[in-house]
């Protein structure tokens, strides 16, 4: 079981089960691909469903459905594939998604703070990552110049 933490670096346990194929379990929280979601969304009404986006899938593909989703996960196939940072910001800033946004895949300690600033608040760490270091790596920086999900006002609007 991969380690799941929140944006404070604390362990959390909001399990969503990823499913292969078209046979969906009749209960439990599910984490579905965009295709699975689109093929089954009517019959899933009332269930707790999350959708995961591959790195080449855009936030707008699920924008109309966000109200029905309990979670959006964004996959990092490689930690150096940075598309997910933009996708998370779009989910938060353009489509106003307020539920959890989870980073999955090649999720490493040294990218956590940027992910958090882009709107991720759950991180499924790769198995070899030392979870006890997460508080530190999430907080390497106490200030930032840019506008971000974490702090919409850029530094220039906050300087005394």
């Amino acid at each position: 079981m991969p380690t799941l933490i929140n944006n404070l670096g604390e362990l959390t346990n909001e399990q969503f089960v990823r499913v292969d194929g078209n046979e969906l379990p009749s209960e439990g929280n599910l984490l579905l691909s965009v295709e699975q979601w689109q093929a089954n969304r009517e019959q899933l009404s009332g269930r707790t469903i999350g959708v995961w986006l591959k790195s080449d899938e855009f936030a707008e593909q699920i924008a109309a459905d966000l109200e029905k989703l309990a979670l959006v996960a964004i996959e990092f196939p490689k930690f150096a594939d940075g598309r997910g940072y933009s996708t998370a910001r779009l989910l938060r800033e353009r489509y106003q998604f307020a539920g959890p946004v989870r980073a999955i895949g090649d999720v490493l300690l040294d990218q956590l703070q940027y992910m958090h600033r882009c709107g991720f608040d759950q991180f499924e760490l790769r198995d070899d990552q030392k979870v006890e270091n997460a508080v530190k790596t999430l907080n390497y920086f106490s200030e930032a110049y840019q506008t971000s999900v974490e702090r919409p006002d850029p530094l220039f609007r906050r300087r005394a």
Partner: protein, 558 residues
């Protein structure tokens, strides 16, 4: 010169401690090599042919004497007592120890310097005209805008893992472009609209490397308030849509080409519509805050005429006259000029400076130029605010320190990457070729007669030596394990009439020994064909590549 406040300082200090922790975790085996790679790159650290190389940012080329003394101390304490000034206004150390880099970064932070994002697939150091702020005819001072972009790009959380590196340059003069914005991922040209309001002409997708291309105009007039939200939009379109399957097709220029300029600009406009007028919109307060760091130093009121003593010495000493002619530049303030301290002494790798030279330059800046200096993409050091009456004394001091090579702007003032002597990426050495050319063309009268001529040398496709935009460009290539050199002509970065162009290859590549003779043949065509007042680039543009090609390969055909 911009001065950090407590927050700027804290951000850089926290970066040092972050990297120290990451280095420790890497050395303890907690971060694998492949995952440490982007971390160290974004802290300026490459692993080179012989040792790591640390690239320190000199944001938009500005240095103080204090900072240059610190760079010299670091060269002595952590390296072999010299540095290399790069073609992108950075300073490179060739022999640091990986374990000591956090300490070097901590030293840099004490003088408000860093190596942040000087490498890696992120937004790099923003560059501009080395004479920014003192040149005549600027639309506005580009330096506050560079600093605003520096802050925006520093640790931008969304754009640290782009498909490929990303370089931004800003130009202000409309009649020439020493920042070479046409060959940057984003080129920003300061302009004023008919109402006199300040803004930017935005070019995207220029670049050198494997696929040299001039940037496309995507926005005719971007009002200054919207600079950062528009940059966010361009970067987001690139981050989401740029190719990630092939690193040679990953630069934004490939995306712009694939979509077409119009479709790309449309995509950016759509994205920008959501960001425009948001919190990233710049405020007059912020522009004023940053601009006040770039006000004039305490210039004296002086006559603009050359002081009589200077004129007399020019008549008396040809060497002084040559130096004043080539190595000084007009200043917008009467009685002042900018002086280039040349790092192109024959026998020394172009752009290299010893710690003693760095201290000497720092001292000269204190003595003659308000303790400020610039580094140029021509790999020289510039004192920007020298009183003309000080020129004789400065000349003597420059000579004594090996800075007085009077070749600025000529063929001998070559741009040259470190090449295969140092760089692991290089296909061929570049420094020995540069030296052979300097040795062959050491007749000053001949060099002056040729006039302004950019000769740029790169040791590989990555084009750090800007060979594509050299009037004469030389590119090292590897053929079956042997070094060969391809020659291009007609490239121009924009310094002449602001008409940038990419050089054309004249034919099959040459062996290193042939290069000085090939250049001589090219120059002979130029000298024979030129009209009064024409530069090399003008002649290539007028008569085309063919006559040069015929001359260069004449012997081979016999």
């Amino acid at each position: 010169m911009y001065q950090y406040d407590e927050i700027d300082q804290k951000i850089v200090d926290e970066r040092v401690e972050q990297y120290r922790d990451q280095t420790n975790r890497y050395l303890a085996g907690e971060i694998p090599e492949a995952e440490f790679l982007p971390i160290r790159l974004q802290n300026g650290l490459y692993v080179q042919r012989h040792a790591p190389m640390l690239r320190v940012a000199v944001p938009y080329g500005m240095l103080t004497s204090e900072r240059l003394y610190k760079l010299a101390d670091i060269a002595d304490d952590y390296d072999k007592g010299y540095v290399h000034f790069s073609t992108r206004q950075n300073v490179q150390y060739n022999w640091p120890e990986l374990e000591q880099v956090p300490d070097i970064l901590a030293e840099l932070a004490t003088v408000q310097m860093h190596a942040i994002q000087t490498s890696g697939n992120c937004i790099r150091n923003t560059t501009t005209d080395e004479f920014a702020g003192i040149a005549k005819g600027e639309v506005a001072d580009p330096r506050p805008w560079c600093e605003i972009i520096r802050q925006w790009s520093t640790f931008h959380p969304e754009f640290a893992y782009l498909p490929r590196k990303f370089k931004i340059a800003v130009n202000s003069r409309t009649d020439l472009d020493r920042a070479a914005i046409a060959v940057h991922d984003i080129g920003l040209q300061l302009v004023k609209n008919d109402a006199g309001e300040l803004g930017f002409k935005v070019f995207v997708g220029g670049g050198m490397g494997r696929t040299p291309i001039i940037g496309s105009l995507v926005n005719e007039f971007l009002p200054w308030q919207h600079l950062l939200t528009y940059l966010d939009a361009v970067l987001r379109v690139y981050n989401l849509n740029g190719r990630r399957d092939n690193k040679y097709k990953a630069r934004i220029k490939i995306l712009v080409k694939a979509l077409g300029t119009e479709a790309f600009a449309e995509k950016v406009a759509e994205e920008w519509a959501h960001l425009k007028d948001g919190p990233g919109t710049l405020t007059q307060d912020e522009v004023d805050r940053v601009s006040k760091f770039f006000i004039d130093p305490a210039y004296e009121q002086l006559a603009d005429e050359e002081p009589a003593a200077v004129t007399a010495l020019r008549q008396e000493k040809a060497g002084f006259d040559r130096w004043v002619t080539r190595n000084t530049m007009d200043h917008r303030v009467p009685g002042y000029c900018a002086v280039t301290l040349s790092l192109k002494k024959v026998g020394v790798a172009p752009g290299d400076a010893t710690s003693a030279q760095m201290r000497a330059a720092a001292k000269l800046a204190e003595e003659f130029s308000f303790a400020e200096l610039r580094v140029s993409h021509y790999q020289n050091i510039i004192l920007t605010d020298v009183k003309k009456s000080d020129l004789p004394a400065l000349w003597e001091a420059a000579k004594a320190n090996g800075f007085a090579t009077p070749t600025v702007g000529t063929l001998a003032d070559m741009i040259c990457c470190p090449g295969g002597d140092f760089c692991a990426l290089a296909n061929a050495r570049s420094i020995p070729v540069a030296e052979a050319i300097q040795a062959k063309f050491d007749d000053m009268d001949y060099l002056y007669d040729l006039g302004d001529l950019d000769l740029n040398i790169s040791g590989c496709m990555n084009a750090c030596g800007h060979h594509h935009v050299g009037n004469i460009g030389i590119l090292g290539v590897d053929k079956k394990g042997r070094e060969f050199y391809q020659v291009t002509i007609g490239g121009e970065s924009g310094g002449v009439n602001n008409e940038p162009s990419i050089g054309k290859i004249i034919g099959p590549s040459f062996e290193a020994e042939e290069i000085p003779n090939v250049i001589e043949k090219l120059l002979n065509v130029f000298v024979a064909q030129r009209h009064e007042g024409e530069l090399f680039i003008d002649v290539v543009r007028r008569i085309g590549v063919q006559p040069f090609k015929e001359a260069a390969y004449a012997d081979a055909d016999q």
